[in-house]
Amino acid sequence: MEFSFGASASKIIHSTGFSELAGGDLIMIGVGCTLIYLAIRKKFEPLLLLPMGFGCLLANLPLSMMKATDSGGLLNFFYQGVQHEILPPIIFMGVGALTDFGPLLANPTTLLLGAAAQIGVYTTLIGAVYLGFNMQEAAAIGIIGGADGPTSIFIASKLAPHLLAPIAVAAYSYMSLVPLIQPPIMKLLTTEEERKIKMAQLKQISQTVKILFPIVVTFVCCLLLPGVTPLLGMFMLGNLFRESGVTQRLHETTETHLINIMTIMLALSVGSSMTADSFLRLETIKIIVLGLLAFGFATAGGLLFGKIMCKATGGKVNPLIGSAGVSAVPMAARVSQKVGADADSSNFLLMHAMGPNVAGVIGSAVAAGIFVSLFGDMTGVDTHAALAPVIGNPEPGIQAIATVVDAIKQ
């Protein structure tokens, strides 16, 4: 075999990534480096933004086979966990294992604040439709207002997978900016006197109630909204590990190593979907703007409902805890505590704000379930419908849901 130095050198040069590097790749590498910078220097959600930024960097290196769409590539395998809705529910199990429902059970009316904060989801949905997105895309964008990363990814991968990258980036970026976004809105919508309101100490809750709660919520919510079962079911399983007291090893694993492993895989997968053709579009800018509005409206919704509860209870509820209804556990509760303490340094709202905070997680999961019911493919219903002639049971309830879904689709 004849060896030509020039030809071989040329071949090596043409086999490097440099030869394939395009302008879009360079911009996306810049975006990835920006996320890494924000994670390391600014401490913005570093556990997520760092692997996400690095995933973006890897995906945009030409010939690296690290894009989410590169069949057979490493991150393509990780991405299967997003595509098949595996990773977000497992992360939710870890979140459940970390969550103490005690403050919510002690003051269950704070669930209403978690519901009110979901207004951000729906104002954004309307805004997204107005800006030209279809209903499924608008639903995926709107759920950013739930301030819940795994829920946003779950819904985006189900309803608008082509928008997954900008939605995930917007959701996690704004979650990390909660301490900057919320306080001005909180101060604008509440008076000094309202911020100084001290709330009565929360009562103690029986351990049996804490054990029964995840089982009851799973039963009620998953029967009402079957689409929410993967998220809420895993969330409540994680919490049952925590509260049962008999699965200490499982509890410790889910709240530490499992959630950490899944977070690495999820963030890398999302980062690997951040390619120039999926990210450098006008829609991305629209999603970033809509995401900010979603957080703003969600905060305002919770606060305004908090003011209503304050009036209704004769001043026993501090409206500041309403802003914690946006989920973003526990950062939003900490912001309520901080703004309350700024008004009166002897005011401790943290535990009171944890109630609406975890209520926000349930509220955003319910909102996601509604979107899945309305706009999802309802494969479960199809399966049941297909089985019905075999088992000889027409299941009228499921048929009714299928009819409604068909009507909506049409």
Partner: protein
Amino acid sequence: MEVSVSSAVNVSILAMSVIFTVLIILIFTIKTLVKLIPYQESPVAPVRKIVASAPGQDDHVAAITASLAAHMGKSPDEFRIVNIQSR
């Protein structure tokens, strides 16, 4: 466009109603659970009180310790009597 926005508004109203309904059901469920299973202080395990020998009992303690040590065949340092209660 107008139709789509009005559809979005309808979906939003419907969805918010469903969210409030589901969470109100949960509120009543929680209240029922808390009412049926109230919190009870966990019984505190009785703690053995360690008491030093009362004043004036030192001679008695010494005598009993010596007798007991002789009876058990042990050194007085291997056990300790801390209290004597009279009936």
